[in-house]
């Protein structure tokens, strides 16, 4: 906002001289609006024209580029120090899409919580952020089979002064709990009996680390790998040992994978075929290993199982 008091006292005559200019400006703006509306209409048509498995793969092949939605989360999908797209999911995407006949990948960075809405509003073609597959998300998008399985872990202050090792501890010791926007960990904490409105929701894992370091919360929950990576450089915080969250009283292992728009099942199936080959040949592990994944994180679970919850 401009500073107040800018009455220069010559409004009358000047405004009259300027008014034709304003009118044409208005016309220009409304013309722009019309173009925008047309463009939007075009997009909707593309989105709804796919009721037989979708033709996205053909279009991607023709374009030669696929847009990947990433959430800037190390090691799943992020832009590295050299400005290059990397991470477990993008590296895997590069390999698989090349085999599907799409040569280039283009990152679209966004917030984790905006990945599914962004996918469904055509901001990008695939969610490539190692997203956990769970029933709620399966209602919005379709998932390829998981490329890894994962446990949860906490970021706590150095030495874990409150002795927090899983969600039960958080509830029992009345710890202040934080996690990220749209994270599956929100639900795990609620299942363990934590009051949902008391959860502090931060934009990402770095903000979570910051909240623990600043003492705003006692604990931040994320995937075992993320918390380990983000807490590594911290002098005031550390990550806890990975643990298995409980869902409906049963231990639950999470699996993460690629998400596609619900209509694009053909692309998802083609992706699954290539992923399966990579798993069988052991290539998948070679791609994921540089990002801190171990053999324990390789998985045979399917998206179908995980969607059932």
């Amino acid at each position: 906002m401009a500073p107040p008091l800018r009455n220069d006292g010559n409004d009358g005559t000047d405004a009259q001289k300027r008014s034709p200019g304003r009118r044409s400006l208005l016309a220009g703006v409304s013309a722009l609006g019309a173009v925008g509306a047309l463009g939007a209409a075009g997009c909707t048509r593309v989105a709804t024209a796919s009721d037989n498995g979708g033709d996205l793969l053909d279009r991607l092949k023709a374009q030669g580029v696929v847009r990947l939605g990433i959430a800037g989360e190390i090691p799943f999908g992020y832009i590295d120090k050299n400005g290059e797209l990397t991470g477990e999911a993008p590296e895997l995407a590069k390999v698989i899409f090349k085999r599907l006949g799409v040569d280039r990948v283009q990152p679209v960075p966004t917030e984790f919580g905006s990945l599914i809405p962004g996918l469904n509003s055509q901001q990008f073609d695939v969610v490539s952020a190692g997203m956990y597959i769970n029933p709620e998300r399966c209602q919005q998008v379709v998932f390829a089979d998981p490329d890894y399985q994962m446990l949860d872990a906490f970021i706590v202050r150095k030495g874990n002064p409150k002795g927090l090792h899983d969600y039960k501890d958080v509830v029992a010791k009345k710890a202040r709990f934080a996690t990220g926007t749209g994270y599956a960990e929100i639900q795990y904490a609620v299942e363990a009996g934590y009051k949902e409105s008391d959860i502090l929701i931060v934009p990402d894992q770095v903000a979570g680390l910051n909240a623990v370091e600043a003492g705003r919360v006692d604990v931040f929950a994320g995937t075992a790998l993320t918390t380990r990576e983000v807490a590594r450089k911290s002098r005031k915080a550390e990550s806890t040992k990975p643990f298995t969250p409980l869902v409906k009283g049963k231990p639950h292992v999470d699996g993460g994978g690629f998400a596609f728009r619900s209509a694009e099942t053909r692309l998802r199936d083609a992706f699954n075929v290539e992923l399966k080959k990579l798993k069988a040949s052991g290539e998948l592990f070679r791609i994921l290993r540089p990002f801190g994944f171990t053999r324990a994180e390789m998985t045979d679970m399917t998206a179908k199982e995980l969607c059932r919850g």
Partner: protein, 216 residues
Amino acid sequence: MNWDWGAVRDFMPHFWDGLLVTLQALALGSVISFALGLVWALLMRAPTRWVRWPVGVLTEFIRNTPLLVQLFFLFYVLPEWNITFSALTTGVVAIGLHYSTYTMQVYRAGIEGVPAGQWEAATALNLPLRRTWTAVILPQAIRRVVPALGNYVISMLKDTPMLMAITVLEMLGEARLYSQEHFQFTEPLTVIGVAFILISYPASLLLRALERRLVR
């Protein structure tokens, strides 16, 4: 697009929580900005430049940097030096501080608008400086600027969604949280949009009425 009244109903409890936080931030932010703005305005009239210059530099700096950046700075950078406030406190302080640099100019205009004759009369009556300010100048100055201050309250209301960036769950924050859980964006965002109109439009009508009564 399909409209789901069920989603509106489910969102409403969250909405009331958000509204409460928004109004808290607005009320406290207004109080801080009104008080601090007057302090700045009076300090800028100090006889020595050793007061005027630092205050001028500080307020220009605050006014010419974005509120969002200030929020991030207070919330994420200050804790590095072990200064930590809760999210809402940070937000209230940031908004109050930011807007105090605007209200300061409003007060200045009000003070300068008091006719010179009033100062002369106060001198003629041999009023002490303190009493000149509290009994003669400020009552007239503030009366003139109440509508302008009110405009900044409305403006502040419209800036409260920025607090979402520092994890304060005001109306927009609640709407986003709800949307990301249930993947329904239209209903919660529409509800808070309507809420903003329902608050700010009557407020501006009230201000117009106030203006008619106070400024002659």
